[in-house]
Structures are given as structure tokens and as C-alpha cells.
């Protein structure tokens, strides 16, 4: 390791190193090469988050590549967290793309299994899953720390990545969820972003086990927050998005909010959630996924008392 002991020297890594409560945002690239879409979303986030996740063909819908969109963010002065799924690439393409990303200056990545293509716009696609997300973490760690590709060949130059992964405290079997996180830690993950949290009680139970097993000391846990735009969205998330639980009380709150004030209520809930997770032991940051609602991020971050963002000295 070089650069004052940093693994990647990314802004996100430094924020954690400073002991600050980190904030990441999210940017879904356009379904085409329209750069303005990326720029517009990024402008909303600039200055309000420490890094921005750039999704990788999320829900298996073809979009601008995560690497390219990440580079656009870099050029705008934002730090990307390049997402990478195991769905579309084999180990050759994955390692190659990571070299490319690193060469372009991308320093954070998120290792994901990826949504099955059945839900996307190309359900007849062939999936890959040459590696799974845990093996991907380990592959990147080996590239970075040992300077070797999977087969053992030496890597030319350094591949400095701050390695992230996702965790879903609401997936089943619940009792194995923390064990799976432990496997990600064993594989070498540096930070975790969780699935959107609405069921705070369940998240607390999960977090307690994480802390009991000391996993929060081995990787940084960021709680996933997605503000609800409407009652319809709350119901949709509850019903249709696998691995997301929206408790009745949240739906009731959205329902009770007067017409025209639903979005406001959604933001209020999100701010409360951020404040609540911030108090929890082991939570090192929030991952704010304002899906197609990036314009509201500044408001939420300010209301949660997380603005201005600290700027680590290089």
C-alpha cells in the first residue's frame, strides 16, 4: 500500500478514514449516449455527496456503460463509485474493465451479482455469472493488493480500488444475511451499501448482529435510503421490488399526507431515517438513492444536517 496507507486514495475512503459520516448518492446513466442526462443528474449531487454510485445496466435495462458515465462524473469533479455486475461479463472482461476504469482514474467500485435479465429489456440475453459478487470482491482485492490477476499473472501498474459491495438485510433467509456479509468481509470488501431501508426494526436487528460479530470494524457499513415520491411508489416498492420491505406504517404515513404534500412527507421520512441510522452503532454513512429525483438530494442532505460535506486534504 502506498499513498499514506490508503488502499485507493479515493475521497470516500478518506472520508471514512477521517471518521466522518459518509454520504453517497446515485446516478443511473441514460438509455443511450446522451451525456446531458448524466451531467444534469450529477450537477444536483455535486457538493452534497462524497461519491456517486453509477449503476451498471440496472434492472438489466441497457444503458450507457457504468465506466463511461463514471468518467463523465470524474471530469465534472465528482467522485464515482463504479458499479459492476457479474451478469454481463466473464472474469476476462471484468478484470480488463477494472484495469480500464482504474486507468481512467476511477477509484471506487461496487461488486454486485446484478439483477437477472429476465426483468430487463433483453430477457433473451445469455447471462454470464462466471464469478459471483463475493468472488468478484476477492478478484479485485487480489488485483489491488497482490498485483495479480486471477490466474496468478502479474499485473502491470497498480489497480487502486476501494472495494464496495451491497448487502440486503431484508433478503431471505434472514438468519444467513449477516453470514453472507461476513463472507464479503472475508473476501476483502472495504465498504457496504445496504438495500433501501424502510423496515427500521429489521435493519436494527441485522445491524446489531453485524456489530456483535465485529463486522463493522472490518468494513464500513452505509445504510441505504430511498426517499418515497408518492404513495404509489411506496406501494410499488412494497409489492414489486424483490428484497425490499415497506412496513404498513410508512405506507400509512404516505397515505395520510395531504394531496400535493406526499413528496414532502417522503422527504421528511427519508430525513428521519438518516437521522435514525446515524445514531446506530456501526453505521458509517448513508447511501442516498434518490431514484430519478436527484434534484431533492441537496434538500435532504441539508435537512439531515450532513451539509457541508467535509473535504479531506490530499
Amino acid at each position: 500500500m502506498s499513498d499514506n496507507g490508503y488502499k485507493s486514495g479515493s475521497n470516500l475512503e478518506k472520508i471514512f478514514a477521517m471518521g466522518e459520516f459518509a454520504v453517497t448518492g446515485e446516478c443511473g446513466p441514460p438509455k443511450g449516449s446522451d451525456v446531458s442526462v448524466v451531467k444534469k443528474k450529477a450537477e444536483h449531487l455535486k457538493g452534497y455527496v462524497d461519491a456517486v454510485n453509477v449503476t451498471d445496466n440496472q434492472t438489466a435495462i441497457v444503458r450507457m456503460s457504468s465506466i463511461a458515465a463514471s468518467k463523465i462524473l470524474l471530469d465534472m469533479g465528482l467522485e464515482p463509485v463504479m458499479q459492476m455486475t457479474c451478469r454481463d461479463r466473464n472474469r476476462i472482461a471484468i478484470q480488463s474493465d477494472v484495469f480500464g476504469a482504474s486507468a481512467l482514474g476511477i477509484k471506487n467500485m461496487l461488486c454486485l451479482s446484478g439483477d437477472h435479465q429476465k426483468f430487463g429489456n433483453h430477457p433473451g440475453a445469455k447471462n454470464v455469472y462466471c464469478l459471483d459478487s463475493i468472488q468478484l470482491i476477492n478478484t479485485i482485492k487480489t488485483l489491488r493488493d497482490e498485483g495479480k490477476v486471477m490466474c496468478g499473472d502479474e499485473v502491470e501498474g497498480e489497480t487502486k480500488m476501494f472495494i464496495g459491495a451491497a448487502a440486503n438485510p431484508f433478503g431471505d433467509p434472514f438468519e444467513f444475511r449477516v453470514s453472507r456479509l461476513a463472507k464479503k468481509v472475508e473476501a476483502g470488501v472495504d465498504f457496504i451499501q445496504t438495500q433501501c431501508i424502510y423496515n427500521m426494526d429489521k435493519f436494527k436487528r441485522w445491524m446489531k448482529e453485524v456489530v456483535d460479530r465485529g463486522l463493522h470494524e472490518k468494513c464500513k457499513i452505509m445504510a441505504g435510503i430511498t426517499p418515497l415520491k408518492s404513495l404509489g411508489m411506496a406501494r410499488y416498492m412494497a409489492k414489486n421490488v424483490s428484497g425490499i420491505e415497506v412496513p404498513e406504517e410508512i405506507i400509512a404515513r404516505m397515505k395520510a399526507a395531504p394531496k400535493g404534500k406526499k413528496a414532502e412527507e417522503g422527504i421528511k421520512i427519508a430525513v428521519e431515517q438518516i437521522q435514525e441510522v446515524r445514531e446506530m452503532e456501526g453505521v458509517a454513512g448513508v447511501h442516498l438513492m434518490a431514484i430519478e429525483w436527484e434534484a431533492k438530494v441537496p434538500e435532504i442532505i441539508k435537512a439531515a444536517g450532513l451539509y457541508p460535506r467535509p473535504s479531506p486534504s490530499a
Partner: protein, 228 residues
């Protein structure tokens, strides 16, 4: 067992349209057991084709024959004469049988009447499910006898992914999450430690990804040469 599904009628009709004499050929192996390509199904399809031909005033001969196994020279050799007699063989065997008969070097084209769908098990009358992908490197010993390669939609070796809910896979509420099954089975066996540690990336070279596979048993080959 190899599971198959009858092709749709139009596709079958198209594939034999240019033939004046067709042999509908069944197999008494897997496709008989899964009721798609045995003697009974051959009779039904042949009769159906004759009905269609007669209704169109088409004078075409459709003959029927079901042999023990279409993937075995021993059973095919005796019927080669019959194959030569026809313009086309419509095989209701799996893709292996279709190819075996095609590869005999006869001038008669062999077309498939079924789609070979998967390697699976018959769970109930009329219900089959996939169980194996013949990936060439079995992990059932670790996973409590439940295959994550064939039964997890993403073939994950370190599942379950975040899409597992109430024991079901994210792709379909009728598909069981293989990793929930693995977890529950290992728990019952007191072997959860099998999946507590990271299972490293595997080589797919033993699977189809390594190219078409060949298996050679020198011991058997040398015996056959001695006998031969």
C-alpha cells in the same frame, strides 16, 4: 433424465414439408419416460400428420418406428434400411439421438420433432424440474445435495443473492430459491459451516465453456480393442 418438449406443429410441418415419405422415429429412453418421444407419442404425431395430409389431399406416407435408444449404434444399425427408404426422419429423440442418426452418413436428413429442454426429474405426473447442468465439477457434497449451478438462476456459488424472498427466486414466484433450500438443508444436517466460508471462483473449463467435451476411458478402450 433428459427432458424434452414437443415442437409446435407448424414448425414440424415446415420441417417435413418437402418430404414424400417420412419416418417418425421414437426412442424408448428418456423421451419415453417423459412422455414426449416414445411409441405412444410417435403414434399420435404420425396420425395427426396423416390427418393433416389427407385433409389437404396430400398423398404422403408417414411411417412409425420406435427403437430402444437413438443414441446407440446397436439399436440403430438394424433399422438403417428403413431410414434409407424415407425422404426424411422426424426424430422424437433428444438432440443426442437426432445427431446420432444424422451422423450415420446416410443421405436421409433427420429433423427434430422435440426441443431438448433440460436434465431433470419427474416430480409428479406432468411435472418436471431441472436438476443438473452437467457442468463437470459437482459441488453437491458441499451444498447438501442441492445444485446451485442448475437451480440458482444466477448459478451463484456464494448465494443467496439479495433477490431471495420467502424462499422464492427473484425471477419468478414459482421458482424456489436454491440457496434458501441449500441453507435449510445444511442447517438440518448441522453442516451450515459448509457455506459460512467463501467458496472460491471455480473453473468453468469442465463445463460447456471449455468447448465440446469428450470423455475417454483408456481401460475400457483397450479392452474393446483387444476384443475387437
Amino acid at each position: 433424465m433428459i427432458i424434452g418438449d414437443l415442437k409446435n406443429t407448424d414448425e414440424i410441418l415446415d420441417s417435413i414439408d418437402d418430404a414424400k415419405k417420412v419416418l417418425v422415429m421414437g426412442c424408448r429412453g428418456c423421451v419415453t419416460i417423459c412422455q414426449v418421444g416414445g411409441e405412444k407419442e410417435v403414434a399420435l404425431l404420425a396420425s395427426q400428420l396423416r390427418i393433416g395430409d389427407k385433409a389437404r389431399g396430400r398423398n404422403r406416407e408417414i411411417i412409425e418406428l420406435t427403437i430402444e435408444r437413438q443414441c446407440d449404434a446397436e439399436f440403430i444399425e438394424p433399422i438403417l434400411g428403413k431410414v434409407k427408404e424415407v425422404d426424411k426422419v422426424l426424430s422424437l429423440a433428444c438432440g443426442i439421438g437426432v445427431q446420432y442418426v444424422s451422423d450415420l452418413g446416410l443421405p436421409t436428413p433427420v429433423v427434430p420433432g422435440i426441443n431438448t429442454t433440460f436434465l431433470g426429474v419427474n416430480l409428479d405426473t406432468g411435472l418436471w424440474k431441472e436438476r443438473c447442468q452437467a457442468c463437470g465439477d459437482c459441488v453437491l457434497e458441499i451444498t447438501g445435495g442441492i445444485c446451485p449451478i442448475a437451480r440458482c438462476s444466477k448459478s451463484l456459488l456464494n448465494g443467496p443473492c439479495g433477490g431471495s424472498a420467502d424462499g422464492k427466486c427473484e425471477i419468478d414466484p414459482d421458482v424456489e430459491c436454491a440457496w434458501q433450500l441449500i441453507h435449510d438443508r445444511l442447517k438440518a444436517l448441522g453442516k451450515l459451516e459448509n457455506i459460512e466460508r467463501v467458496i472460491p471462483a471455480r473453473s468453468w473449463a469442465t463445463s460447456r465453456d471449455g468447448g465440446p467435451r469428450t470423455r475417454i476411458r483408456e481401460d475400457l478402450r483397450s479392452i474393446s480393442r483387444e476384443e475387437g
